[in-house]
């Protein structure tokens, strides 16, 4: 469980984050979205004890990061697109981190295999591609088998199979009861993996909630046998209808209501689609609302 309460970080007169409050719950993947400079990395760095807050609290499993006993066994973090000394091999890097966290170095081999780097284990990390560095960073985060994962832009540099692998990994961690907090600007990617969304802009929370709730059901796209009669019936039921060629875009009705009305007036339906908002729409709307 991650709890962020009234978090504020001020640099001089500028608030990098201001009164940020949200929770990332166990068993769910929470996405932290924001433009560059919106404050998401600052929030994560405060959570991980790398930056001191001006005020507010950031708790992991009910404790400040610095108060966790053996923090790497509680929290795994992927930051800054893979941190390692470029002159060290992937294997040596993980052994260094295992020694650092008091973790049995026997985990290193299986982890390298798990992230698909077993053949590059002896290679210097300076010769790794960005995607390989990200995989190594994920292996580093998983060393202590933590139940909380914090990932800052982990998909950067990953190829499509790498992204699919990361999605599966994060889903599996959440389904096993873990807490996953992930920040990314790759909204389409994030949409496929997150349960909850926190949108941050100019250091403040713009929107937060379950993705399904935020996406909602914006409108229905209906294609039927008699568009004119259908439109009339829907409008009579209180819906707003916008005809477009052979289609009707209907707002204010559920798919069930739209189907029942069509059945009532004996007009066949060939297509009935509930068009939910995509994460990108939600994000853009939240930012546009903030600008206004």
């Amino acid at each position: 469980m991650i709890e962020i309460r009234d978090l504020t970080k001020t640099y001089g007169r500028v608030d990098a984050v201001r009164d940020v409050t949200f929770t990332a719950a166990p068993g769910r993947v929470t996405g932290l979205l924001g433009l560059n400079g919106s404050g998401k990395s600052t929030t994560l760095r405060i959570l991980l004890g790398l930056t001191r807050p001006t005020r507010g609290t950031a708790l992991v499993n009910g404790k400040r990061y610095r108060d966790l006993d053996q923090p790497l066994r509680h929290v795994g973090a992927v930051l800054e697109q893979g941190l390692s000394h470029p002159g060290q091999s992937g294997y040596a890097h993980l052994v260094t981190q295992a020694l650092l966290g008091g973790i049995d170095r026997s985990r290193v081999g299986p982890l390298l295999e798990f992230v698909g780097l077993e053949e590059a284990a002896a290679k210097r990390t300076g010769d790794y591609s960005l995607g390989m560095r990200q995989r190594l960073a994920v292996a580093t985060a998983l060393l202590g088998e933590p139940n909380v994962l914090v990932l800052d832009e982990p998909a950067n540099g990953l190829d499509p199979p790498g992204m699919a692998w990361l999605r599966e990994l994060l889903r599996a961690r959440a389904e096993a009861g873990g807490t996953v907090l992930i920040s990314s600007h790759l909204l389409a990617e994030l949409e496929q993996v997150v349960d909850d969304v926190v949108i941050i802009g100019q250091g403040r929370i713009l929107a937060a909630g379950p993705l399904a709730e935020l996406a909602g059901t914006a409108r229905l796209r209906v294609r039927g046998g008699d568009p004119v009669r259908l439109a009339g019936a829907y409008e009579k039921a209180g819906a707003a209808v916008v005809p477009y060629e052979h289609l009707l875009f209907v707002s204010g009705l559920t798919p069930e209501q739209a189907g029942d009305i069509a059945l009532e007036i004996q007009v066949p339906i060939y297509e009935l689609v509930a068009e939910a908002e995509h994460l990108e729409d939600i994000f853009m709307n939240a930012n546009v609302a903030e600008v206004r």
Binding site: T42, R45, Y65, L72, H85, A92, T96, L99, L100
Partner: protein, 200 residues
């Protein structure tokens, strides 16, 4: 703290550039040892300072300090561990590079240099924690040695490297000066290591 110490020692031996720096500084000290044991002492001290700078600064240069602070959020413990690592490497450097001096029947001079070298290494680790950038430190070291200690102070007691050179010859007062410089660096380093780590 022991975990950080073990990890940093393993890290130092698993990175080629750290090895090369250790060998390079030791070779330089040994080379000057052929001229005089006093020259060896001075360059063993510079080497101990240099290897401490190299190993400690790598954490900031490649941002692996983030990983260290994630595993050990109490940063003063990290500072102590890094000072101990520097002391071990500094002692090794002095002990190995001074073998010709030892064989030249200057055992007392060899022993006092090897005993004082870790103090200089700790001073190097503390300075690196404050400055964080190895090139600034090593460039600054060169300028400091040339102008402050060489031209202005004429390598007389009082400033850290001259104090090291004299302490390694058994001068107790010089050792106290060196310890005072190191002690003075401690609170600044403690403050510096608690600074926020900026993002990439």
């Amino acid at each position: 703290m022991i975990a950080v110490l073990r990890s940093d020692l393993y890290r130092s031996v698993s990175i080629r550039s750290s090895w090369l720096a250790l060998i390079g500084f030791a070779f330089m000290a040994a080379l000057f040892g052929w001229f005089s044991k006093e020259a060896w002492s001075l360059f063993a001290g510079i080497g101990a300072f240099g290897i401490a700078v190299t190993v400690t600064a790598q954490h900031y240069q490649h941002r692996t300090a983030v990983l260290v602070f994630l595993s050990q959020p109490h940063r003063w413990r990290v500072l102590i561990a890094q000072c101990l690592v520097a002391a071990v490497l500094g002692t090794t450097l002095a002990a190995v590079s001074g073998l010709p001096v030892l064989l030249d029947e200057s055992a007392a001079h060899y022993a006092s240099t090897v005993l004082v070298a870790p103090v200089m290494a700790v001073f190097g680790a503390l300075c690196t924690t404050v400055v964080r950038h190895p090139m600034w430190l090593l460039g600054g070291l060169f300028a400091w040695l040339l102008f402050a200690e060489g031209l202005i102070n004429r390598m007389e007691n009082g400033l850290p490297f001259a104090a090291f050179a004299l302490a390694s010859a058994g001068n107790t007062k010089a050792l106290l000066f060196l310890l005072a410089w190191t002690a003075a660096a401690v609170p600044v380093a403690v403050w510096a290591i608690h600074r926020d780590l900026a993002g990439d």
